[in-house]
């Protein structure tokens, strides 16, 4: 009996370690040992990271919030979008969407096929925001190595946009919050590993607020009357990775994994809908 309890304690300790490695990347900026005094700690999948820089949120010369830096994290849970919702919100799929999720297979996930993640699916890889006059860019290391453009010149959304992976984005400032409105999506990407779908009616509103030098809050409202009974809002967080730059992630290079993947759409720990 005593040996059984000792074994149980040992398993618990080991479990705590490996579960950190297996955590979903919805808030990839979270991790073990963050901000340790001795040169930082683990953040997401990254170890020995410098501490999150401290200080007030910076401004550009014209007073606009400065969103520059290498960020890690996202506005949603990429294992299952329903796990990171604004309090009181819920994900209510229309019957066809709920039925589809139950049949989806991991090998068909566009992300496994090295296709773009769409919005708001995050990844364990960092990204940047580049602000130029009238046009901002979001540059993603993965998944996949890609970019989005957000028009900041006051233009309106097109009335009948053609469908694309990242849609057509226009942005504006709401106080200290950068608001990105996107329409014109294709229906190909999944919101998460478990396979939440969407349609071309998808309309997203992202809200990025740099709360201080090292941190950003992100909220994303998903409005897709083609697949969901009501809009819902996801909440997430990103933090600055002070000790790195974006690196290369050309997923298409050698994706032999696909031929070995099987089973239902599932999160990193094997969770399904």
């Amino acid at each position: 009996m005593r040996a059984r309890w000792i074994l149980g304690i040992a398993v618990s300790a080991a479990l705590a370690v490996v579960s950190l490695l297996a955590q979903p990347q919805g808030d990839a900026s979270k991790g073990k040992g963050q901000d340790k005094a001795k040169g930082g700690g683990g953040v997401g999948l990254y170890q020995r990271q410098p501490p999150t820089p401290k200080g007030p949120a910076p401004k550009l010369a014209d007073g606009t919030p400065d969103l520059s830096g290498v960020w890690l994290g996202s506005g949603a849970n990429d294992a299952d979008i329903s796990r990171a919702l604004k309090p009181g919100d819920s994900v209510v799929m229309l019957p066809w969407a709920a039925a589809l999720v139950k049949t989806r297979q991991s090998k068909d996930d566009p992300e496994s096929n090295c296709m773009p993640a769409g919005i708001p699916r995050g990844s364990p890889y960092p990204w940047r925001i580049a602000q130029t006059p009238g046009l901002y860019f979001i540059v993603y290391e993965g998944n996949i190595h890609s970019w989005r453009q957000v028009f900041m010149d006051g233009r309106k959304q097109p009335e009948d946009p053609d469908p694309y992976w990242y849609g057509h984005s226009v942005g504006r400032w709401d106080g200290q919050t950068w608001v990105v409105d996107t329409v014109g999506f294709n229906d190909k990407f999944w919101f998460d590993y478990v396979g939440h779908p969407h349609t071309e009616k998808l309309h997203t509103t992202e809200r990025y607020t740099r709360t201080d030098l090292g941190n950003m809050s992100i909220e994303v409202t998903i409005d897709d009357p083609g697949a969901y009974a009501k809009p819902f809002t996801t909440v997430g967080h990103a933090r600055i990775m002070a000790g790195t730059e974006l690196l290369e992630y050309i997923c298409q290079e050698d994706n032999y994994d696909l031929q070995h993947i099987s089973g239902p759409a599932q999160g990193p720990g094997g969770s399904t809908r």
Binding site: G8, V11, S12, A14, L15, V18, S19, L21, A22, Q23, P24, D27, K32, K36, G42, L45, Y46, Q47, R48, N77, R83, A84, K86, P87, S106, D109, E111, S112, C114, S123, P124, Y125, E141, G142, N143, I144, Y193, S217, V235, G236, H237, L247, E248, Y249, I250, C251, E253, D254, N255, D257, H260, I261, S262, G263, Q266, G267, P268, G269, G270, S271
Partner: protein, 150 residues
Amino acid sequence: MLAPDARLCQNFERGSYLMKVRWNVLAASAGLLVLGLPALAHHSGAAEFDSTKKIDLTGVVTKMEWVNPHAHFRMDVKDSTGKVTNWNLELASPSILERNGWQRHSIKEGDTVTVTGSRARDNSNLGIAQTIVFPDGRKLNFLSAYEDGK
């Protein structure tokens, strides 16, 4: 920052396993094996590798491939009859490895190493190299060159 209920939801899987530890050590061990598969960035590790199919291989590295979406290396493994099998052993992506202290030369052709991990679900000679140990005791893992994991 996640809302408190969102955090609870994110931790649901881990929490459920911890409950099993309390009631049944064996069941918890099974959960440990599942969770032991890493998040592989562009797909679920559990969809590709079977944590119940453990591998423990010693052999000679024949090739290191510093490529995306996963770096991987090839290794010749000789069995008791002398038959040599070439294994493909998977790691995280180069950008994750680089940030965690790996370099493309961390494993070289001709190195003898012992690898433990899990085999692919389809029983091919593909595995995830969860630990890599050199004869001098140096250790690497699929994610990091930092032995202390910090």
